[in-house]
Symmetry: C2
Subunit: 199 residues, 2 copies
């Protein structure tokens, strides 16, 4: 039986345990990231929010890279993935990438990290990657062509999210597009890519 969440950072007398869990560390890190942005996600700030000294975190997390990688993979759990046996596999791919796009848009701070890490590498990422291959296979794209198609789709999706906030290569002459236009824009390109891939 597990205890309910203690409220943020109740002061403890020395020698008393904080009762940290890896899960709670990750969760709080995620919160901090959402509220204050990537630059504010420091080990020391995270420790403070948890009411713990900075070095305590290293009992629950190997290092900061480990922490960030775990967050990146966690977010992918929010992707609404179709079953691999949907009727129309191309439509399934479309839906999968569109959902991924939405999830990434909901976490704009994380997107540059996916790029810096060149993707996520945890279990959720792996599962989604396998699903893509399964759908591509059913759409008639196999072997090396499938791996290349998957790369194109992923790159396009993450890349798009990375540039969602403001237009690339611009001196600020044009106002940023509203989110729904960006998504339309994303879906157009996605359609072209899927047409090319399955042609």
């Amino acid at each position: 039986m597990s205890l309910p969440e203690p409220n943020p950072a109740p002061p403890r007398t020395p020698g008393q345990r904080a009762g940290l869990t890896r899960a709670r560390v990750l969760e709080t890190a995620h919160e901090l990231l959402g509220e204050r942005g990537i630059d504010a996600l420091t080990m020391r700030a995270l420790a403070e929010r948890l009411g713990v000294s900075p070095n305590t975190l290293y009992s629950h997390v190997a290092d900061k890279t480990d922490l960030v990688d775990a967050i990146l993979d966690d977010v992918l759990a929010e992707v609404d993935a179709p079953r691999s046996d949907v009727e129309d596999p191309t439509a399934g791919l479309h839906a999968l990438m569109a959902s991924t796009h939405e999830v990434l848009l909901a976490h704009p701070d994380l997107v540059p990290l996916y790029v810096a890490r060149q993707g996520a590498r945890g279990p959720n990422a792996h599962r989604l990657g396998d699903l893509m291959l399964a759908l591509l296979d059913r759409a008639g794209v196999t072997g090396a062509a499938a791996l290349e198609a998957r790369r194109v789709l992923i790159v396009y999706t993450i890349g798009f999210a990375a540039f969602a906030a403001r237009p690339p290569f611009e001196a600020g002459a044009e106002p940023p597009l509203p989110p729904e236009r960006i998504s339309e824009n994303f879906l157009s390109g996605l359609g072209w890519l899927l047409a090319g891939i399955t042609a």
Copy 2:
């Protein structure tokens, strides 16, 4: 443009000037980045390489962001841009994006920075952006559609370069593709996008 580089960090007597230039600061930063990677590009390391104390850099550069932005835009000068009056504007776009892809592949460390900054914003970036619009216009894509098409092409190109080093979303099961396969892969997707854009 060959440069009569003074050798790195000749010791000076106190009160003597180092003779720094913004250009030389940028150049040396670029060197440092190429040799030791992005994590090694610190103001302090750069200062040391220039034989100068860290705070001196602030006489030539507003801050580290300014420094990095300048480097990012400089690299774009290497892009082999077609003239805006090439015979076939679609082929011109293809060539422009392909050249950009090559330049980015030659500077893999910088690519995540383009993403983090959501593009470059200096004069070279601006010039290339204008050229894209001119070519799209001649290919019959105008107005809002042209801006969206440009975004798609840029996102795709930078995104691809960002993931060139190793496959995204993978647990390392497959070996990384050799560079020429990556470029083939890039060109396939580019072709699909251009076909969709100009359809």
